[in-house]
């Protein structure tokens, strides 16, 4: 029987298969490909027009009073680029499991000996690549068509900080997968969490613009520290050191992974007890 490092090596190679399978499935739906091509461009234009309407350009002194920077456009483009990772991570694993449930393939996966976490890891990597593409294209389009330069070497920090943020998000992903198994419903719940996270964290506006109770909630959201670290590092705002923010993210990572895994393990066992792995 397969044990130890031999099993670990095989499990790791499964992640590659999951990515290949997700990619093949993805490209066979033309609307998804179209969405991927157009989405970065359209989302950036939306942010730009919004900026033009609100502050009459790309910078605002009024905005600087709250955010510590007058560079409104760079502030929200970075927020938007990072939020892509949050959004795909929240939607990603739970939604992929829900899709398998709806397609009827979930039991076939569940009965396979591979660890479910390996499959989740593969899905997460695929989503991560997807997010990197969207975020990079947003920054690239911004630099090409807008008066803002965000494609510069220090922007690679987005990848590093987001990588730290992702562990928290995938902890949330495990949690949402548990919720899929428990409640057979994903969309409304994900929308709720997605919208709430966007509201309580400094994606489109700084913490100082939030009412005090919401600003306090923002302190318990890892995205707050990721955005703070990135914006601080590239010089858009003054913030605590990168290492300080990174340390806080590691604490969140640990907490979310542990809680997510506990909820998933509980939900999976409950679904197996009630015969509800595949029920819609």
């Amino acid at each position: 029987m397969l044990t130890g490092t031999a099993r670990l090596a095989r499990e790791l190679s499964v992640t590659r298969s999951v990515i290949k399978k997700e990619y093949k499935m993805w490209r066979r739906y033309p609307s998804r490909v179209l969405f991927m091509l157009l989405m970065p461009f359209l989302s950036i234009l939306t942010l730009y027009f919004q900026g033009m309407a609100l502050v009459g350009g790309t910078t605002s002194e009024a905005f600087a009073e709250y955010a510590g920077t007058n560079d409104y456009l760079a502030f929200i483009i970075i927020g938007s680029a990072v939020f892509i990772f949050v959004s795909t991570a929240i939607w990603g694993i739970g939604n992929a499991i829900r899709r398998e449930q709806m397609m009827g393939t979930l039991e076939s996966i569940w009965v396979a000996p591979v660890s479910k976490y390996t499959i989740f890891f593969g899905i997460a990597l695929f989503d991560g690549l997807f997010s990197i593409y969207i975020a990079f294209m947003q920054l690239l389009f911004s630099t090409i068509i807008l008066p803002v330069n965000l494609v510069k070497p220090e922007m690679a920090i987005i990848v590093l900080v987001t990588a730290l943020l992702l562990f928290s998000l995938y902890g949330m992903g495990f949690l949402f997968t548990g919720i899929v198994l428990l409640f057979k419903e994903m969309e409304d719940f994900t929308n709720l969490i997605n919208t709430t996270l966007r509201m309580v964290s400094p994606v489109s506006y700084p913490l100082a613009a939030m009412p005090a109770p919401i600003a306090i909630v923002a302190l318990f959201v890892p995205l707050t520290y990721a955005l703070s670290a990135i914006r601080g590092y590239v010089g858009i705002i003054d913030t605590a050191s990168l290492a300080h923010n990174a340390a806080i993210l590691v604490v969140f990572d640990t907490a979310f992974l542990v809680v997510g895994s506990i909820v998933f393990t509980y939900a999976e066992r409950r679904a197996r007890r009630r015969g509800e792995i595949a029920t819609h």
Binding site: S108, A112, I119
Partner: protein, 336 residues
């Protein structure tokens, strides 16, 4: 059977489901029903055996297979598959089995058979270097060569089922669970498929197979032994031949009639040659199964009683006992 010849063994295996009928009813504790899907089943299936679970829809066949394949946790009792405890060693159990489910949607329809098999081969932790050859061998074995690069959504139901069977064989497991393997297939393809299961998979590759079915001919044609399952319980277990012999009566009269009356059934039961009468609904008719030692001796009298009661006879036949007749006699239920 020696214990080391046992491929699958269960002891007091029991599974119940609570149906609460909605959140409000659950809170009011109203409309709560407990359904026993698997009821205290003790069973041993030998190595290389082709074993059938025959029963009507809802009898507990799929729940039983799902417990053995670790998709469902039992409430009570235990089971061993290939020597591994389903509760303590789920990984080893999963490495030892292949499973096909009755749903057509168990494959990725937007992938080809080759892509499906390649993906699932990795989920079964096959070495990457072996996957291509293994997939190719199975596509050839199951005669899927020409369709191997078409999307699954474009395949016939029969070929989808072949791909599902190929998937179950990917890890070359000693044990296969086939849940209603020919459901929805056309009759001629079902015959070929059964032949393949018996000759290629069971006899030639020596796989232990547990299959569930509600098709009497399928169980009769394929299985070394059959267990009748009804309302979660094993009602009888033997070879098809012995099960058919277990009925003392030599003949079965089967009549499809417009309706029945208590008086009519009483009179038919009182004939000396008639040992029992079973009645059940089928489509819009009522079907009577009359178990008798001699159909010719009582046929005229039975028809006379029915016509005297002004009941219309839609069809009439006489046959020797089939497995379905044994099932009806033992359980009072029909297989469909």
């Amino acid at each position: 059977m020696h214990s080391n010849d046992v491929a699958i063994g269960t002891t007091h295996l029991t599974k119940t489901f609570d149906h609460r009928g909605g959140l409000l009813n659950a809170l009011r504790k109203k409309d709560r029903r407990t359904i026993t899907a698997v009821d205290d089943i003790d069973l041993e299936i030998g190595e290389h055996e082709l074993f059938g679970l025959l029963g009507p829809n809802g009898a507990g066949k799929t729940s039983f297979i799902k417990i053995l394949s670790t998709l469902l946790l039992p409430d009570r009792g235990t089971a061993h598959v290939n020597g591994w405890d389903i509760l303590k060693n789920p990984f080893e159990v999963r490495m030892s089995i292949g499973l096909t489910l009755s749903s057509e949607r168990q494959l990725y329809w937007k992938l080809t058979p080759r892509e499906n098999l390649t993906y699932f081969a990795s989920l079964y932790l096959l070495p990457r270097a072996d996957i291509t050859d293994r997939v190719e061998d199975l596509l050839t074995l199951l005669d899927l060569g020409e369709q191997s690069d078409d999307l699954v959504e474009n395949l016939s139901s029969g070929n989808k089922q072949k791909v599902a069977l190929a998937r179950a064989l990917l890890n070359d497991p000693p044990i296969l669970f086939l849940d209603e393997p020919t459901i929805g297939l056309d009759p001629s393809f079902s015959g070929q498929f059964r032949e393949m299961i018996k000759k290629e998979i069971n006899r030639s590759k020596k796989k232990t197979i547990l299959l569930t079915t509600h098709y009497m001919e399928e169980a009769d044609q394929l299985c070394d032994r059959i267990a009748f399952i009804n309302e979660g319980r094993i009602a009888a277990l033997d070879t098809p031949k012995n099960l058919k012999r277990s009925i003392d009566e030599k003949d079965i009269l089967t009549l499809s009639v417009s309706h029945t009356t208590e008086d009519m059934l009483k009179k038919i039961s009182q004939f000396e040659e008639v040992s029992s009468v079973e009645r059940f609904s089928h489509d819009n008719d009522v079907v009577l199964k009359i178990f008798t030692d001699s159909a010719s001796a009582c046929m005229q009298d039975v028809i006379g009683i029915i016509t005297d009661e002004r009941v219309q006879i839609h069809s009439f036949s006489s046959s020797t006992p089939t497995l379905e007749d044994v099932f009806i006699k033992l359980t009072g239920s029909v297989l469909e």
